[in-house]
């Protein structure tokens, strides 16, 4: 295992060392000490690495990740795992706004709560939040699944495209064009699989499903008040 101590090394040193593994992989297990909320930790990885960040991370931790499995042993700032392609990011604490924004693939697990706009414009990833999510979560979400084991704030799934949203707790309000939908067998199956992959022990039958009513897909004058 290789250790990078951010008390003595820079974020640039860390990222460059991790990027070098994409060309030639010499070390798969990495530990980052003293992150102290610094931004842009372990961004743009492109290799099957295991990276343990021992503390809190700032903005964009794990941003654009491909293949690597990153664990933040603390909380994460804005835009954790933004635009992730594959691999996984697990946050042991809470995550700030825009967690998993625009993420295309991979798995993001937040063991605490996530702030506003969790899963905004997500494009195919799976996001599992053990706690609650803030307002405007999954705004313009395009594809993938968002699983919330706690409650969701205002305007969940506003202007939603095709993300499957599963919430166990209360939803404060639904955004424009987002509706509650029937939970069919295929959804129970999908949710069970995502929960299992996330290592979260919840009964899929306790969740409700939300999705797009697809009424805003093409402009209709009668919907003018929703635009």
């Amino acid at each position: 295992m290789r250790t990078v101590d951010l008390a003595t090394q820079t974020v640039r040193d860390l990222n460059q060392a991790l990027h070098d593994q994409a060309k030639q992989c010499t070390e798969t297990e990495w530990e980052v000490l003293n992150p102290k909320g610094q931004h842009n930790l372990a961004v743009g990885l492109d290799q099957k690495l295991k990276v343990d960040i021992k503390g809190h991370a700032g903005y964009y931790c794990g941003g654009m990740n491909k293949e690597a499995d990153i664990v933040v042993h603390g909380s994460a700032g804005q835009g954790v795992a933004e635009n992730m392609m594959s691999g996984s990011v697990r946050v042991k604490g809470n995550a700030s706004s825009s967690a998993g924004a625009t993420s295309i693939g991979g798995l993001l697990v937040i063991e605490g709560d996530a702030g506003s706009r969790c899963g905004i414009s997500m494009k195919g990833s799976d996001i599992v939040v053990t706690g609650n999510v803030g307002h405007m979560s999954c705004f313009m979400g395009q594809a993938g699944t968002l699983v919330v084991c706690g409650d969701a704030g205002d305007a969940l799934g506003d202007s939603l495209y095709e993300v499957h949203i599963y919430v166990k707790g209360e939803v404060k309000s639904l955004g424009a064009d987002c509706i509650a939908k029937e939970m069919r067998d295929e959804h129970i199956e999908e949710l069970s699989e995502v929960l299992k992959r996330a290592g979260v022990d919840e009964d899929p039958h306790a969740f409700k499903r939300y999705g797009s009513a697809r009424q805003l897909y093409n402009f209709k004058v009668d919907n003018a008040s929703a635009y």
Binding site: V11, R12, N15, Q16, H19, H39, N40, V43, G44, D46, G58, Y59, Y60, G63, M64, K66, Q78, G79, E82, N83, M85, S97, S98, A101, T102, I104, R117, I120, S121, K123, G124, F139, M140, Q142, A143, S159, Y161, E162, Y217, N218, F219, V221, A224
Partner: protein, 443 residues
């Protein structure tokens, strides 16, 4: 003849409610939706035609047209990037999305730009192999929608342009209507086919300049500080925006004036938001100069640039380079009179066509229709664009030499005068024949 009509010698049209205003009211009443179109502002605006070069005579020394060099090469991204972009002419191709434009059009833009050693830019919707393949210098746009955005393409880019806005619609997001969302476009954007696709107007994971500074660092970290990072803004509060862009860490700032083209925007937005390109440049340059960053952070200006005179005037006002959109499309064949009959058949005419969003362009440029797209041969289109870019460059050089400059970037505001009081005030150069710059020195 009635008592009244006996006195009427001429029918009088209302200046306020003229025929096109009335037609728009009827159209709105019929359809219940605002008018959406492409192109840029069509109203008359103070523009570069209102400026003139003084040229050399007794007090200035001109350069010989064919013998004495006038440098047109510009290096972009000298502030932080390990690999700045070197362009051989200060005219670049602006970001226009695949989706709005056909794959052949994107390829033609790449071919034309590469032939003269300048850069092209992707657009909303991601990078296509056609344009990466044909563009030796490709700027990758990073937009609020992040459609098609991925780290592999990011790492293939020669520069990254963080788009905050466009001159045609500062403060607005994008739209690509269902007609143009073909299978390929839908797949690149991860959207169902045929939906009216809206692009967000704000980035999803940052708000404000302090966040943007961190975002830019993220992009630099991901690309190992190799490539320049641009920030593109629509021209509005340009003085402040440019200062904030410098503070956020931009290598290059792109300011797009209100004449700037678009693929699809509400008419009300195109015609009523933003400031003219000419008015934006002095604001941007002032901001850079006050920060000691003029020429260190390069300034690219776009919006309504048509000929070498426009290029030279932008540079005299302090820009390092310009970008063109609409003019490049016209060079490829957009609005070509040879398709007049077909333009008429879809309710327009050659020279007037602006319904890019409908995807029916007879010239095969702003369309995803495979049959129409075939009409644009990317090799021939590329050749035409290269020709046009060479003319722009030679014209701009001609003017620079006439002002005694052996480098395009030696042109200066002192070389210019204005024809109208308003252009003098906006461009901050004196009214021709006077030393009056309205607003300067408190008068």
């Amino acid at each position: 003849m009635s008592e009244k009509t006996k006195y009427i010698t001429e029918l009088r049209e209302s200046a306020t409610f003229d025929r096109s205003t009335m037609a728009e009211i009827r159209r709105a009443a019929d359809t219940g939706i605002y008018d959406i179109r492409g192109w840029g502002a069509k109203r008359k605006l103070p523009h570069f035609d209102d400026l003139l070069f003084l040229g050399a005579s007794m007090s200035r020394y001109p350069l010989e047209g064919y013998r004495e060099k006038c440098n047109t090469q510009v290096t972009l991204g000298t502030r932080f990037a390990k690999k700045p972009i070197v362009i051989e002419t200060p005219v670049t191709i602006a970001g226009m999305s695949f989706g709005a434009l056909s794959a052949n059009a994107k390829e033609a833009l790449g071919r034309g730009a590469s032939a003269v050693g300048t850069s092209t830019t992707t657009g909303d919707g991601g990078m296509t192999p056609e344009e990466r393949g044909q563009s030796t210098k490709l700027v990758y746009q990073y937009l609020p929608s992040r459609y098609g955005m991925n780290p592999d393409d990011l790492r293939k880019a020669d520069a990254i342009e963080v788009v905050l806005g466009q001159g045609a619609k500062p403060g607005g997001g994008g739209m690509l209507l269902g007609q143009k969302i073909t299978e390929r476009v839908a797949k690149m954007r991860t959207l169902p086919m045929g939906v009216d696709q809206r692009s967000a107007c704000r980035h999803p994971d940052w708000t404000g300049p302090d966040d943007l500074a961190i975002k830019i660092l993220e992009l630099r970290e991901i690309t190992d500080w190799q490539v320049p990072i641009y920030i593109k803004v629509g021209a509005t509060r340009t003085y402040y925006d440019v200062k904030l862009a410098v503070k956020a860490g931009a290598d290059v700032i792109v300011v797009d004036g209100m004449q700037g083209g678009t693929a699809a925007t509400q008419e009300v937005f195109i015609e009523h938001v933003g400031i003219p390109t000419m008015a934006a440049i002095p604001q941007a340059v002032q901001a850079l100069q006050e920060m000691g960053m003029h020429r260190k952070v390069q300034l690219i200006v776009s919006g309504g640039i048509r000929n070498g005179a426009d290029v030279a005037k932008c540079m005299a006002l302090g820009a390092d380079a310009v970008a063109i959109g609409t003019a490049a499309l016209i060079a490829l064949g957009c609005n070509d009179p040879k398709y007049d009959e077909e333009f008429k058949a879809i309710g327009s005419a050659a020279g007037f066509y602006d319904d890019y969003h409908e995807g029916k362009d007879p010239a095969g440029i702003s369309t995803q229709d495979p049959e129409l797209s075939k009409r644009l041969d990317p090799v021939e289109g590329g050749r035409r664009l290269a020709n046009y870019l060479r003319v722009l460059t030679m014209e701009a050089q001609t003017l620079a030499r006439a002002c005694g400059k052996n480098d395009m970037r030696h042109l200066e505001p002192e070389d210019l005068v204005a024809l109208t009081v308003e252009s003098a005030a906006m461009a901050r150069v004196p009214l021709a024949g006077t030393n009056w710059i309205p607003g300067a020195n408190n008068y």
